[in-house]
């Protein structure tokens, strides 16, 4: 969707709606990808089997490559190249036309393809709800449980250092 088309739309009320809708969908896709990237291919595939999937084809066969990871000097300063990471990517198109993209760290092409399929489904008015309810929702819950467990284990190692006055202790 071209922003100029939206802006050119003389009905200003509905153009704002369109932009909001576009941004909402983008945020939703991004949130779904953030969950899927942390799941295993097998977990995603197992969840997807609970949905009667529409016809789809590979728009881009899974492909492995590299992404240069950047840090910032001092954590918040000018960027620098830290080192690369392996990344797999794929693209899938639903019979109804939605195009989904899958990107993930690692070299699991099947996982990239499954993420792309999910991304296409998220954009589909017929499947958006189902994929959120049956795939992304449960995976998000699992991810949160793992993170909470790790955070609780980390929290147990929190210390309070105190400086002693000389001669004490």
């Amino acid at each position: 969707m071209k922003l100029s088309i939206i802006i050119d739309n003389f009905n200003s009320a509905s153009s704002v709606d369109l932009v909001t809708q576009h941004n909402n969908q983008q945020a939703q896709r991004k949130a779904a990808m953030a969950v899927l990237a942390h799941a295993e291919a097998g977990e995603i595939a197992a969840r997807l089997r609970t949905i009667a999937l529409p016809g789809h084809l590979d728009l881009r066969e899974p492909e492995n490559g590299l992404v240069m990871l950047r840090g910032r000097a001092g954590g918040d300063g000018a960027p620098f190249n830290l080192g690369e990471a392996t990344v797999s990517r794929a693209a899938v198109r639903l019979a109804s036309g939605e195009v989904g993209f899958g990107y993930t760290l690692g070299r699991d092409g099947e996982k990239a393809r499954l993420i792309a399929l999910c991304d296409a489904l998220v954009q589909s008015s017929d499947f958006g709800e189902a994929v959120e309810r049956d795939v992304i929702g449960p995976l998000r819950e699992q991810l949160m449980m793992r993170r909470n467990q790790a955070a609780a284990e980390t929290a147990a190692t929190k210390v309070d250092f105190y400086t002693m006055v000389r001669g004490e202790g």
């Binding site: 990237a37 490559g65 620098f80 392996t86 609780a152 929190k158 105190y162």
Partner: protein
């Protein structure tokens, strides 16, 4: 000079077969799996990822297995592998301030927002060998406590609010970032290239260089402002997608070194800083990197560069262990032609020497 030689194919093939057997060792002992290396020798994997400059645990574990545990050989293998893949692009700079912290300590402030968190650390262990690890050891389940949702800001950001520490260098949006895997290194090198070089530099070399600054060769009076280790999210602006795509998370260690202050007639004195960042849990590496990063800022901070750690050409030209090992280890490859010519020259010189120093009587007798 190395001149190509031919022959020895059979011997080379058999040597590689023998290597494969030596690598496997006693076959009555179970073979080590990549998962076992990744899970149980995790810090070796972290080092190979950092210095191999490629974040991929499985590949690093494979490299360690193939290299029989020789980490520099493993780093070499990983570097060679990365050359086989296309590069999709560059990530958005990671936000270490938003790290899901598993460890975070400060040696400068005891009360920091978010607290000091020891995490999984060798610190405060007694360094006594533990024989129980040799007999099938099952660790206790980790203790848990209620996790705080309080943010864990970088300690340097807190100091920065009061102007007590210099701010990080800024760059223009869209300014190019140097990449020494793409362009040859030229000196003087900017900080982006220096940090990239140090991030993939040999831990032992950086440790020695950092140590040398502590011992007085380019002293800069360091404090560990903060070390943090944990997971950060990675995003990649994929052109086809049209927004920054989450790729998943990586583990990083970050060290913020707070160093001696500087000031001038026009600027109030403030602490200076050095920075270290590496893949995985790599504390010694990031601390050494931060010390050397600070030392290499001598020129920028108007300090006299007198020590090796302050000499960027010296440090950056010798920090890469793949380059270093390539040049050192090539000495063991056949140099027969080169050596023959040296030998010929030496024989000639010795003959001339013998003739010049022969006793007069002998010369006369010969005449």
């Amino acid at each position: 000079m190395y001149v190509a030689v031919k022959g020895g194919e059979r011997a080379i093939e058999n040597a590689h077969r023998l290597l494969a057997n030596a690598r496997r060792g006693d076959q009555s002992v179970p073979e080590v799996t990549l998962d076992q290396i990744s899970e149980q020798l995790g810090l070796a994997v972290d080092r190979v990822m950092s210095e191999g400059s490629l974040y991929d645990r499985e590949l690093a574990a494979l490299a360690i297995k193939q290299a029989r545990g020789d980490l520099i050989e493993a780093i070499f293998l990983v570097r060679a592998f990365r050359a086989t893949l296309p590069r999709f692009g560059t990530s958005e700079p990671v936000d270490t301030g938003a790290m899901r912290v598993q460890r975070r300590v400060s040696a400068t402030f005891k009360d920091i927002p978010g607290g000091q968190i020891l995490g999984p650390t060798f610190d405060y262990t007694h360094r006594l060998l533990d024989p129980t690890l040799g007999q099938g050891f099952v660790p206790e389940v980790p203790a848990t406590a209620e996790a705080s949702t309080a943010p864990t800001p970088r300690v340097t950001d807190i100091l920065g609010r009061d102007g007590l520490i210099e701010s990080s260098p800024r760059s223009e949006d869209g300014a190019s970032v140097g990449d020494l895997t793409r362009e040859p290194l030229n000196f003087p090198a900017d900080r982006d290239l220096r940090l990239q070089n140090l991030a993939r530099g040999d831990e032992g070399f950086l440790l020695a260089m950092g140590y040398s600054t502590q011992r007085g060769y380019g002293r800069n009076h360091p404090f560990v402002g903060e070390i943090r280790f944990g997971e950060v999210e990675v995003e990649f602006s994929a052109e086809d997608v049209g927004f920054a795509v989450p790729l998943g998370s990586i583990e990083l260690t970050e060290c913020q070194m707070v160093n001696q202050f500087k000031g001038s007639a026009t600027e109030a004195p403030c602490f200076t800083r050095g920075y270290g960042l590496a893949f995985g849990q790599s504390e010694r590496k990031t601390m050494s990197m931060a010390l050397v990063d600070r030392a290499l800022r001598a020129r920028e901070l108007g300090e006299e560069a007198v020590a090796p750690a302050q000499d960027e050409e010296f440090v950056m030209s010798h920090s890469d262990n793949v380059q270093a090992t390539g040049f050192v280890e090539h000495l063991k490859l056949p140099h027969y032609v080169d050596f023959q010519s040296e030998l010929g020259l030496l024989r000639k010189l010795r003959k001339e020497f013998a003739e010049a120093n022969a006793p007069e009587a002998m010369k006369e007798a010969a005449e």
